[in-house]
Amino acid sequence: MTADLLFYLFAACTLVCGFLVIANPFSLNPVTSAMFLVLTMVFLAGLFVLLHAFFLAAIQVLVYAGAVMVLFLFVIMLLDLKAEERRRLKVFGITTGLIAVGAILFIFLNTLAQAPLGASTTPELEGTTMALGKLLFTRYLLPFEVVSVLLLVAMIGAIFLSKKELK
């Protein structure tokens, strides 16, 4: 009962904050958007806790609400905010955004169609860090490694761009 109530509370807060990130009627400031994104991440972590996935919840807060958002804010802080506020929507941005959203929606709907609602009572990722680690290093090893390589490439790119003399 309490869990249900909390689910609706967290879900509603996630949706409201997520909406305020992209379309805030009170301010166009990117920093405000970024802070609402932090709140969205925190409420998402709350949803993970309700699913008994404590490890994922902690990682969600540590990586997204902590490190990633701070880097976002850091970049925003160094940019010219006025230019950002005046920016208009571009066709390229809208197209790629719509494609990405469509793809994610397709995956979600597929998963929903495969798993009938309310059928499974025990969640698959029941809490323990060990089970998650084993899954990551056996069944999902390839995606895991691909993501690591992707991050490494991004890191090398960032270092390359910030070098003063390109040799």
Binding site: F54, F55, A58, I59, A65, G66, V70, F74, M77, G127
Partner: protein
């Protein structure tokens, strides 16, 4: 007798919950128990904060050949009370250009998470607020909110010194979080668990006179020192207190805070220091376990707080004796020395785990770490750039 004294707080809580349950429905038992633990923790660490402000001023005074505060109460013991009254009665000034809401929330975003972090620290046998399966991760996750708070404070004040301080602080915190977490990972590898209670249990017991603390192994010693240095940087303690360097940027990100909000920042920094010192104790210094076999009758929480006070004394000593680093030195120290050393320490811990027990693994791990330390130090000193700094964008 010793057993009873050790569990006296746990027993007292159980008795209190049982007595309270006569008056409220039984479903409240867990809530009541949690509330009582949280209240005790809050009071204990707030009292420790008051004591530490006094100890720090006294200690720094002695290091600098003066008395320190000694006017209010016997030996100046009531000085924290006077400070608190002063903070409460000061005018709360908010700059007109400031972002009012964010400026107001920033101190709260600092104070609430650092108190949350205390919840997973086992301060005694059976004395932890929550024993989470991913306790260590929870600690670092809530710790991440301090960076956010620093940003909010610096950005919302609309003051260039605030912004500079916040930029410095965030760059420093992100850089030092990497060695901090990597050096904690070694302990997780040994304990095979992220639960803080389990980590302490692994370190209980003695071989001969020596306790099974992680700090008494080569990788543990290296990890402890790395952790302590990174912890000082995370807590903005001297010699890593550039974000608030008075001589350059006045007070950094909390320059536009006054009255009780300033006191909250102060409180948050100290509680953060206690939390991260408490974690160092839990990870490397055996948590609440006794250092020698024949003093095991002393209650466990006494040991925890004794260790905590000695670490605090160490931090005060360092603050009184070391000068502040320069920003580029700070960054290159984190990325070129601490990060490689903590990665090599991970390797050493792995070797320690899989080599047979005995002198060989001692020699092997110590040699590996010593070689890494000397090699990295040499290369840093040789490539030391003592000329004028060059900037990518600022020129």
């Amino acid at each position: 007798m010793a057993e009873k004294l050790d569990q006296i707080f746990v027993q007292a809580k159980h008795e209190l919950v049982r007595w309270l349950l006569c008056h409220v429905p039984g479903a409240w038992a867990e809530v009541l128990s949690a509330l009582l633990s949280i209240a005790t923790l809050l009071v204990a660490f707030a009292a420790l904060f008051a004591l530490t402000t006094l100890l720090e001023r006294k200690g720094l005074g002695r290091i600098q050949n003066r008395y320190g505060p000694n006017r209010v109460g016997p030996f100046g013991l009531l000085q924290p009370v006077a400070d608190g009254i002063k903070a409460l009665t000061k005018e709360d000034v908010v700059p007109r250009a400031a972002d009012q809401v964010v400026h107001f929330i920033a101190p709260l975003v600092l104070v609430v998470p650092v108190f949350l972090a205390l919840a997973v620290l086992p301060v005694g046998r059976n004395m932890v607020v929550v024993d989470l399966d991913a306790g260590l991760l929870f600690f670092f996750a809530v710790g991440a909110a301090t960076e956010l708070s620093v940003f909010m404070a610096g950005w919302s004040s609309r003051n260039k010194y605030s912004l500079l301080g916040a930029m410095r602080a965030i760059a420093q915190m992100i850089s030092y979080e990497v060695p901090l977490i990597l050096s904690a990972v070694t302990v997780v590898m040994m304990a095979g668990s992220l639960s803080t209670v389990r980590i302490v249990e692994v370190q209980a017991g003695f071989s001969g006179w020596l306790p099974h603390w992680h700090v008494l192994t080569p990788w543990g010693l290296a990890g402890f020192l790395l952790f302590l240095i990174a912890a000082a940087a995370e807590a903005n303690r001297c010699p890593f207190d550039l974000p608030e360097g008075e001589s350059e940027i006045i007070a950094g990100y909390y320059i536009e805070y006054s009255g009780f909000k300033f006191a909250l920042f102060f409180l948050g920094e100290y509680i953060g220091l206690f939390a991260v010192s408490g974690l160092a104790i839990t990870l490397f210094l055996g948590g609440w376990t006794a250092p020698l076999p024949f003093v095991q009758w002393v209650p466990s929480y006494v040991w925890f707080f004794l260790k905590l006070l000695s670490l605090i004394a160490f931090f005060i000593w360092v603050r009184g004796t070391l000068p502040r680093l320069r920003m580029d030195q700070l960054m290159s120290f984190a990325w070129k020395f601490m990060l490689p050393l903590s990665l090599i320490n991970l390797l050493a811990a792995g070797l320690w785990r899989f080599l047979p027990e005995g002198l060989t693994r001692w020699a092997f791990c110590s040699l590996l770490l010593a070689a890494a330390y000397i090699g990295l130090g040499r290369s840093l000193v040789q490539r030391r750039n003592l000329g004028r700094r060059t900037y990518r964008f600022a020129e």
